[in-house]
Symmetry: C2
Subunit: 298 residues, 2 copies
DNA sequence: GACACCCATAGCCCGAAGTTATAGGCGCAT
DNA sequence: ATGCGCCTATAACTTCGGGCTATGGGTGTC
């Protein structure tokens, strides 16, 4: 069975007819017809019964399809990797971060890095953590950065720094005299919730639940920066990671460390098997410094 | 990347040179050279550096290979399934059992089945349990039979009967007056051990250890029938499953149920996804009856 | 310098798979 | 019944991947 035959069989099986399959595969219908007929002839048995002009998968087809799906997925990933490797060998540095990093840390790090390395070329993405893992595995990116990422097969982690949660409030909240703030101080204030999928969202949720506090939610959002913008507009208060809290985007905001402190790691991610290019290594170091500088800022 | 290119890359990477790869693939060296060159040209980067006439995989190749291995395994299995399905559709009933069944139960069941179904065609194998699972998954066989098989993804089980361990001894052992026998009665008798991989071997080993008895081993073997033959030759005594104990092959043997009884299941195995042919279903029923008849025999 | 290996290229051939054009079966609606 | 929309199959032609043999040119070894 040739790979093409596998592809065609897969398409015909999933899309129900040769005509549909041909459309999906971007080839003519007779081509599909011929490839399939050829495959059947080589296999020595029919894959579909042609009854009243329709295709009915034979029992053999059902069984084959099960295995074909596996092959298909793998080949699909392989092809992605194959083309992604090309971009990598072209000397690009491909970086991605979860939204908190993608909107501020990465752009700043890249801009300053390019001052000393003007020839470097970047690709930047903001991805959620699970997408970030996929991108690394497919070699679509070289370096990732995220909060408290779980251990994953084939992914190497390196902790850059620890950070903590901050409370963000509008200037008019009357909180700006304080040094720090506890969850108790937040009762009865309109609160902007984070329904984040990542480990940080979970940690924050656990923390609030453990304190037996039910904030008075006025809005929900996915990303910390949106929450911050809502706070700046006077919609309420929120709790964000330190990176988002310290980002330059700002209105009239107060930012106070949450007490007791809830800490988490800021972690670099890369593939475990493939070494980084020289340029990527340099950038990795630079990015580490940037993150520390941001956290150390007054 | 075409499948052939993947195959060639895989072979060159694993066998270190195009010449070796060509030999393994049973094609000429120039053919390999061309396919590989073509693949590299399409990918847009080199897979091997040609340095001093030798091939050194590039970093890209190392990464690709990792994924290629997965594809390769899947395609390999797919191809097996594809050809195995052909034999299935030819109307054959393909059966396998662990050695205890393959040497006696299956042949007898097939012989009697063919008396009422003279047109049926069989393939019989004796396989160890793990091989039996593989054979089922690759559709190399339709039906399997084994003792106490563990639950497995994609494999449907059906218990036929329960059986127990029997002690086998030579007529001259002076044991033939008894009704049953305990492990204690076996102390100080030469014992033939089973280093079986299957669940039954493990169960027996656990049982003996739990009784804190250290038999005086005089021989080790893999299969119960060999142990039985050794007993018949006067080499010692052994413990076997009930099926082997009741098999017609015999010399001057005494066979006594072990007390306390250790029971286990006799189980039919088939794929969970694919329905059996009509003939195979009939045989499955017949096989169940045969097993019960053998166990019920006086 | 002869020899053993290794890879690449050239010229040739075949088969898989793409194209367009066309024919034909089935179901449904006018 | 006739036509229309859906489907698949066949024919004739083109393209290209991948196979072959023959051959030449490096590299390392005795």
């Amino acid at each position: 069975m040739r790979l093409r035959q596998i592809e065609v069989f897969h398409a015909v099986y999933t899309y129900g007819s040769m005509t549909n399959a041909a459309a999906v595969l971007n080839v003519s219908q007779p081509s599909v017809s011929k490839v399939l007929a050829h495959a059947e002839q080589q296999l020595g048995y029919r894959l579909f019964d042609r009854v009243k002009g329709k295709l009915i998968p034979t029992p053999e087809a059902h069984q084959l399809f099960h295995h074909v799906e596996n092959v298909y997925e793998d080949v699909d990933r392989l092809r992605h990797v194959a083309v992604n490797l090309k971009a990598a060998s072209a000397g690009r540095i491909r970086v991605a971060g979860t939204p908190a990093f993608g909107l501020e840390v990465l752009p700043r790090a890249i801009a300053t890095f390019r001052e000393s390395h003007p020839d470097s070329v970047f690709e930047i993405e903001t991805l959620h953590l699970d997408e970030l893992y996929d991108a690394l595995r497919e070699s679509r990116i070289d370096i990732g950065i995220a909060f408290d990422p779980a251990e994953q097969q084939g992914i190497k982690r390196k902790n850059l720094a620890r950070a903590q949660f901050y409370v963000l409030a509008h200037d008019s909240s009357g909180l700006d005299g304080k040094d720090s703030i506890s969850l108790d101080d937040l009762r009865d204030r309109p609160f902007i919730g984070l329904n984040s999928r990542g480990p940080l969202g979970q940690a924050l949720k656990d923390f609030i639940e453990a304190a037996h506090i039910e904030p008075q939610f006025v809005a929900w959002t996915e990303t910390y920066h949106v929450a911050k913008a809502l706070v700046a507009s006077g919609a309420g208060i929120t709790i964000t990671d330190e990176i988002t809290a310290r980002s330059r985007f700002a209105g009239d905001l107060v930012m106070l460390p949450l007490q007791p402190a809830v800490e988490f790691d800021i972690t670099l991610l890369q593939r475990a098997d493939a070494p980084l290019s020289l340029a990527a290594k340099k950038f990795r170091t630079h990015l580490g410094k940037c993150v520390k500088a941001i956290l150390a800022a007054d």
